[in-house]
Point group: C2
Chain length 393, copies 2
């Protein structure tokens, strides 16, 4: 609080500050500082030199706080209103002071409660197109882009993703945690070498394909929402990687929500109604993304080859294929791997949860294996409908 | 000479040093310092802060001297005997002191003279496999690899390749230089949008695919040979890029030599005999590369997914496809773009040279356009035989 009081232009000198810890505690300390007299509040987020969820045995670079604050500031200039405002960054303390989003809800919780967000698809589609296109070789002079690759080299955070998303879930690894009710399905995945080969290829893309400065952890728990507003938070995993990884993270997590309602929403009409809403949202996200991306391609391209007929179509088809594949990987890791999601964990009955988890695994596998068949976003949502047993509705 | 005299352990105190400038003058100053009393000699290579061939109007980073010396030292430890030994590097002077290769011939000249190098395929195949595999994510812990990506970030040198290989030759650019006798064929290429789309995809790979620490300029002018020995020089373009770019550089330049003999060797039997030798050399290079790469994959893999059945086959097929595509790009740029090659420039009669150049362009285009059809190295050499009009020999 004393630290907050000393920051310029944040609080009045007579502010009555109170402090509350609000972090989920996985990696960082997060405090809300509120001035009781004015009601004004801010967030102070401090990185610890280890992963808080595991303890000091898992050291973790403080450099992630620099990456997070630098990305938030740059994203704000590219997409004003879609990320929290950074007021202050202190590299010695690995501390970022930023806009409080107390009126926003973590999107994961909203999705469990079957909330609807009429502007979300437009917001996130725009965020994805602008943050990704404008940091790619298409928009940046090659030398500027290469300097950013160095600036946002993020090996320790990438290592977490490499292990927890692309490796551990496919072997009987110690880090895995899964519902005993789905053990047969997990063993099936461990023995599915066709699937594992496709995951290996997607992992290779994650390791080598420096396409754009991606958020790197864009699941629905990294998104804060109100009915009208969307804020993307926590870009501490940012690095130059494949564009489809970010889009796939959003879509994969919406599909986890889709699957979770098998356990949350017992009224089948209500359930299918909300699930259909989620699929429409997925279609809209891609549509908004694609429209904005094509607009930028036409207006902002620095790449001379961008004018060649058919290049943008080819490029977007590759991104869509990656999107499907990474969405699938993101789904599978949340069922088998170390870090689970509230959408599913909030289903208390393990046998009921297993139903959702098996559906999620089936969708995830299909997306990984059949991603090269995907020609348009509706190819993804149609397959989900089929796998969910909706037939050709 | 005074500088050389002061270096420890190089020359005796009573050495009678003489100095000779031997550089080709494109980018750097290169001197040979010889002790007339002992016969011992060394090379001193100094980078200038501009491209010497153009003048001070084209500034160029001195950091390339660091990259070159660091790569030579690392390549020497990975492939002893296949690169010159570095005795000393002076970052202030951007100066590298290294082994003299006065008994070696620039390979380009040897190929013009129809020399044969019985160990070359084995040497270069080994060099490619070891330098590329051992710097990739397959062999290095991901964090070590990412540190090397930063260490060998080489934006200015990459920019030269991006422009001169992947952009300028496909437009009516000022930097282009081509034989007026092939103007019709050049215009055909400028109007071939299918070809340009494929080049755009290959350029994207060059810009984004940080697969291994590549040499970056591995044409036959960067290779010094004797009958028994091979030394790869000049890795100042090194950066993390696609593996196929290095292999394609070797193969594309051997195919430029292939085409050049239409102008050099008038006796058709003698010509076809040497051309067939070059095609066999290409097949052997890939075969040695693949064998060594597979050996390393089996023995040196740090990547846990490497054990998945079929992954190495898929990986090598992608590398072969890239190899064909980049070989094609390398051929086309040497005919249309700024920097030409001795193989062709040494054909004095422009109408005769045009015959070789057109053949080279036809092969280059085919490799770019049909690279996805290539399943094995002989698919490349067979197509070359067909294009050269040999039928199904």
């Amino acid at each position: 609080m004393n630290y907050a009081r000393k920051l310029r232009n944040l609080f009045m000198t007579n502010a009555q500050l109170v402090c509350q810890e609000i972090g989920d505690g996985n990696l960082n300390l997060v405090f809300r500082i509120t001035d009781k007299s004015s009601g004004k509040s801010i967030i102070m987020k401090q990185a610890l030199p280890y992963a808080r969820v595991v303890g000091e045995s898992w050291p973790l670079t403080l450099d992630r706080a620099r990456i997070e604050s630098q990305r938030l500031i740059a994203q704000h200039s590219i997409c004003p209103g879609l990320v929290p405002i950074v007021y202050h960054y202190d590299s010695t303390m690995a501390l970022t002071v930023m806009e409080d989003l107390s009126s926003h809800l973590n999107m994961r919780k909203g999705l469990v409660a079957r909330e609807r967000y009429p502007y979300f698809a437009r917001h996130i589609g725009t965020f994805l197109a602008r943050t990704l296109y404008l940091t790619s070789d298409l928009a940046l002079p090659a030398q500027v882009k290469k300097a950013k690759v160095v600036q946002f080299s993020n090996p320790e955070m990438c290592k977490i993703s490499e292990n927890l998303i692309f490796t551990d879930p496919y072997f009987a690894s110690e880090t895995n945690q899964f519902n005993p009710w789905i053990a047969d399905k997990v063993v099936e995945i461990w023995e599915n070498y066709q699937l594992k080969l496709e995951v290996a290829k997607l992992k290779e893309g994650f390791l080598t394909h420096a396409q754009a400065l991606i958020h790197g952890d864009l699941h629905t728990g990294s998104i804060m929402v109100t009915k009208e507003d969307t804020k993307v938070i926590d870009p501490e995993f940012a690095f130059y990687g494949p564009i489809g990884f970010d889009i796939g993270a959003v879509i994969g997590n919406l599909l986890l929500s889709f699957a979770s309602h098998e356990g949350h929403t017992m009224d089948s009409r209500e359930r299918m109604d909300y699930q259909a809403y989620l699929l429409t949202m997925i279609e809209q996200i891609w549509t908004y993304f694609e429209k904005e991306f094509r607009d930028l391609w036409g207006k902002e391209s620095k790449e001379r080859m961008a004018v060649i007929p058919g290049y943008v179509d080819h490029y977007l088809l590759q991104v869509l294929e990656d999107t499907a594949g990474y969405a699938g990987c993101k789904m599978i890791r949340r069922i088998i791997g170390l870090a689970h999601v509230w959408d599913l964990e909030s289903i208390n009955d393990p046998s009921l949860r297993a139903k959702s988890e098996k559906l999620a695994l089936s969708i995830g596998q299909e997306l990984v294996l059949e991603r090269r068949q995907v020609q348009r976003i509706n190819d993804i949502t149609s397959r989900v409908r089929q796998i969910a047993g909706w037939g050709e509705l």
